[in-house]
């Protein structure tokens, strides 16, 4: 691969990689891996601590300051545990699957911009704070995510056991369904930013962060990112009550640790994509031109990026601490019958609006009466929509004569039931 050609032949990429040397790329790649691994250790501690606070208990507080070293101890314990392989496992694929998961999860951060170009003190050398970028960088993120599913699928299949297979089948169906909704929600960002390169998308958010004008797309993205990473309330592939722990059931020790690592790195990945595409990337949360843009220069943007990243991670934990797991069929119905149609409809609406603005030259002022009119029509329709009549319980069923002495005991009538008229009393008795 020739990075110089890629950089030169890349229209629509804001970051300038023309000065990049191979050594700079290697150093950045190593830094990204180190960042991800330490972030995972922190994320586990963060999740346990926040969930604990939500449940009014202290959480890990024994090892290290604030229990920070707890996840390190857990990792050591995992590494030293006995590594078991199931007899019926397909050994090669069984070993390969967790590797695929981790490898694919490490790919995504290559295109995430941590900041604009970084100046190095006492030199005039600057470098973009991201490993690489190209015109289809966000599609590359989707590609890496779709490859990562292979780890889950093959892991479940290679275990040669029932629950892992069921877990992996669920997971595949889930990730494929929710990737569609996710891709559609990203399309609206592509339309607004006019680019699929991450650095270009960040620089298109100078005026306004996309989560405000594209709020429906952002909501869809947040829902589908939780589905994509198999987290509560969508953690059906590893639903403990139903599938032991899904595709990871037969894994232990280091191989299990790899799956675990991949899951948390994937959380960081989708959070970073959310920050980059919808939440202004590394931009400071101040209006454009504040202090002459001093907050958006140098090394400070990395701080904004990390703050936003952990804010999204907090949402993950918050959702986990709040919501219950969905039933599988409800979950699939939600994905296919709600999320995808809404996402498609939103893309169509956005495209029409963009076409009116850019091609027909309609201004924002002209849009206001249209929006108000649409809202009035919608409210009117909802107002006069005939209310669905609730069928009375048992209306559709054949009325059977009630046996007032079922099993030899006198039984009171159930709601809606009517006792046969008493021969002695000569009146009817109704159930309440």
């Amino acid at each position: 691969m020739n990075p110089v050609i890629l950089a030169a032949a890349a229209p629509g990429v804001a970051a300038d990689f023309s000065q990049e040397t191979i050594w700079a790329s290697i150093v950045k790649a190593v830094l990204i891996v180190v960042f991800l691994l330490t972030s995972v250790l922190f994320a586990i501690w963060f999740e346990r601590k926040v969930v604990a606070r939500m449940q009014v208990r202290p959480g890990p507080n024994w090892h290290g300051p604030f229990g920070l070293l707890q996840s390190l101890a857990d990792a050591m314990k995992l590494l030293l545990k006995e590594d078991m392989t199931v007899t019926r496992a397909d050994r090669f694929v069984y070993l390969l699957a967790p590797m695929i998961s981790v490898f694919c999860s490490l790919l995504v951060f290559a295109v995430i911009p941590f900041g604009p170009s970084l100046p190095f003190p006492w030199t005039d050398w600057t470098t973009p704070a991201q490993l690489t970028d190209f015109p289809v960088a966000v599609l590359y993120v989707l590609a890496a995510a779709s490859l990562g599913v292979y780890g889950i699928v093959l892991g479940g299949w290679a275990s040669g056991s029932t629950y892992p297979l069921l877990g992996s089948v669920r997971s595949t169906a889930q990730v494929i369904s929710y990737e569609l909704a996710m891709g559609l929600s990203l399309v609206s960002v592509f339309i607004m930013a006019g680019s699929m390169s991450t650095s270009q998308i960040v620089s298109s958010q100078t005026q306004i962060w996309w989560f405000i004008p594209l709020a429906p797309a952002f909501v869809i993205y947040v829902i589908s990112m939780i589905g994509e990473t198999n987290r509560l309330p969508f953690d059906l592939p590893e639903a403990e009550g139903e599938l032991v722990s899904g595709y990871m059931t037969e894994y232990s020790s280091m191989k299990f640790a790899w799956f675990f690592l991949a899951e948390y790195i994937n959380m960081l990945n989708v959070s970073a994509v959310a920050v980059t595409l919808f939440l202004g990337g590394w931009r400071a949360p101040v209006p454009d031109g504040f202090l002459g843009g001093a907050l958006n220069e140098g090394w400070l943007p990395i701080l904004w990026f990390l703050v936003k990243l952990w804010a999204v991670m907090f949402v993950f934990v918050w959702v986990r601490g709040t919501l219950l797991r969905l039933r599988y069929d409800q979950f699939m119905v939600f994905g296919w019958k709600v999320l995808i149609p809404v996402a498609l409809g939103w893309v169509v609406v956005l495209s029409v609006v963009q076409w009116l603005q850019r091609v027909q030259g309609v201004t924002y002022q002209q849009f206001i009466p249209v929006i108000i009119g649409a809202a009035v029509v919608f409210i009117a329709v909802m107002w006069f929509w005939p209310e669905k009549k609730e069928a009375p319980p048992g209306a559709g069923q054949e009325k059977e004569p009630v046996d007032a002495f079922a099993g030899g005991f006198p039984v009171p009538p159930l709601p809606g039931e009517k006792l046969p008229p008493s021969k002695r009393f000569g009146k009817e008795v109704h159930g309440e």
Binding site: M1, A9, P135, V136, L139, S146
Partner: protein
């Protein structure tokens, strides 16, 4: 970089010579491995390597789309079917069409001849690079979109309609008319409540017995009255006759003074 003579960088050459032999090996593996899932994995490897080569040859969009569409969606569905159907279980070698092998061989030789002819007659002009060979920049997404949704919009829409028709057709073919009302969580709960007098238990069944001396699936639990609860043992074990009685001397909970002393007698009865 002048059009007409592109110098291929050392990195690209290295990448090619690392990936190409692996791709050939994987392609051969696709033909020769025994298990269907392994063959699918070989195909996935070839696809991903090809995507890497596309990207190295200045076509990042093509490479990424190859992974998203073919590897991420199409191949995943294949794998799904392979896993669920379990093609590995029994490969039937009987010929369903007479002379199938000879026809297959003939077609194979024909395909090889055509491919060999095309490859043999191919000319290899000096590499010009994307900027030389493609002045409109068709490889980048904007230009690609302009070509697809501008020049070829009719063909695009026709293909789209065809695909939607196929999808709807598949839905129609697999559709079954609903004969009974749909079962919901509420209706199932209602039915269970109604079946209560017939001996249906609303709560989960008791789990098999846990005793100090035996902690096994095949030992029934003891109810509060000291009776063994046969439903606590898996139905399969009961049908196979692999159920074991509660171990001798198990603690029997007596529930009242009238029953005192009868518990152990019942237990021995169960053992016998």
């Amino acid at each position: 970089m002048t059009p007409g003579a592109l110098e291929i960088s050392g990195g690209e050459t290295f990448l090619f010579w690392v990936i190409a032999p692996l791709m050939v090996l994987a392609a051969l593996g696709l033909l020769f491995v025994k298990r269907a899932v392994h063959a699918a994995m070989c195909l996935v490897f070839v696809m991903v390597s090809m995507a890497i080569l596309y990207i190295a040859q200045e076509a990042p969009f093509l490479g990424v789309v190859q992974v998203v569409v073919y590897t991420g969606a199409v191949m995943m569905l294949f794998l799904f079917v392979l896993m669920l159907v379990g093609v590995d279980a029994s490969d039937s070698l009987t010929e369903t069409i007479r002379g199938q092998r000879w026809i297959g061989l003939l077609i194979g030789i024909g395909l090889a001849a055509v491919l060999g002819g095309v490859v043999g007659r191919a000319a290899f002009p000096p590499a010009v690079g994307l900027s030389g060979g493609d002045p409109d920049g068709v490889a980048n997404p904007q230009a690609l979109a302009r070509v697809l949704f501008g020049d070829y919009v009719l063909a695009m829409e026709a293909v789209g309609v065809l695909l939607v028709t196929a999808a709807v057709g598949a839905l129609v073919l697999t559709h079954r008319r609903r004969l009974a009302p749909k079962q919901t969580q509420a209706s199932v709960a209602d039915a269970r409540i109604k079946a209560l007098p017939d001996g249906v238990v609303l709560t989960p069944l008791p789990s098999p017995g846990v005793y100090a001396r035996s902690n096994a699936m095949d030992t029934p639990a003891l109810g509060p009255d000291g009776e063994q609860v046969p439903q606590s043992v898996s139905r399969v074990l009961r049908i196979r006759g692999q159920e074991r009685p509660a171990p001798h001397g198990a603690v029997v909970v007596s529930t009242g003074s009238t029953r005192e002393g009868t518990g152990s007698a019942r237990d021995e009865e169960g053992d016998a």
